[in-house]
């Protein structure tokens, strides 16, 4: 009886450092990380160095390396952008419109998309980038 109680007490003492470490890790990840939406489409962010920090992006307009535009996860032809955006009642045309652009996309591939956004009455784009490690 005495022997068995002593052993279980001993096992408990062994576990406490483990729990301490796990709690520490938990608190670290809770505080240091931010919960984020991952883009629904594979895209490599443009890297910048000195741009102002922003919130992790919500799912928005994404332009992949081959110049395909995705709005909220589904592909949109540039000529359809206007009608697709017109159905979005929450769109604020005065605020900068967040766009994720692949770093490798060329300007000529972006042209029809920015024209489509211009036709939708948007005046400013906010390109979401990643600030480099420097």
């Amino acid at each position: 009886m005495k022997l068995s109680s002593g052993r279980s007490q001993h096992e408990r003492d062994d576990l406490i450092p483990l729990i301490n470490v796990i709690f520490l890790l938990l608190i670290f990840f809770m505080i240091a990380g931010t919960l984020s939406h991952r883009p629904s489409v594979e895209v490599s962010f443009v890297e910048t160095a000195v741009s102002p920090a922003t919130q992790p992006p919500q799912d928005t307009l994404i332009v992949t390396a081959d110049g395909t535009a995705y709005y909220e996860g589904s592909p949109v032809a540039p000529e359809d952008l206007e009608s697709v955006l017109a159905t979005d009642g929450t769109l604020d045309r005065e605020a900068p419109f967040p766009v994720i652009v692949d770093r490798a996309v060329t300007m000529s591939a972006l042209k029809p998309i920015s024209d489509g956004l211009k036709r939708s009455g948007l005046a400013r784009l906010r390109i979401i980038t990643l600030n480099g490690r420097s």
Partner: protein, 128 residues
Amino acid sequence: MRIEAQTRRRAAPSLTPLIDVVFLLLLFFMLASTFARFASVDIAIGQDGGGAPSDRPAVLVSVTQEGGYAVNGTAVELAALAQALADAAAEEEVRIIVKPSASARAQDVLQAVERAKAAAVGPVALIN
């Protein structure tokens, strides 16, 4: 027998479920959180005819397909871009026009826009 039962009831509850839950929370936060530092570059996709035409002289920043930069036709390194713009704006107030080649990549163009904004010598426009 009875004494033994009483002792067992007095013992502290097992820690294992607690550890399970903490592990689950730890896993959740490890997988769901990101340490990426997101930033943003605002660009105007100019409404033609919006606003009075500026009488400030324009400084042209061109971006080539290979990621080369030039200020008013003179090639500069990216690191020297802000200084070149500041030099060009030393005499008078200017506006900066970034004009990438059609095959320039978004990475190179946005870096130029970012540096031009950071140089803070005048309004920056991206012509595409």
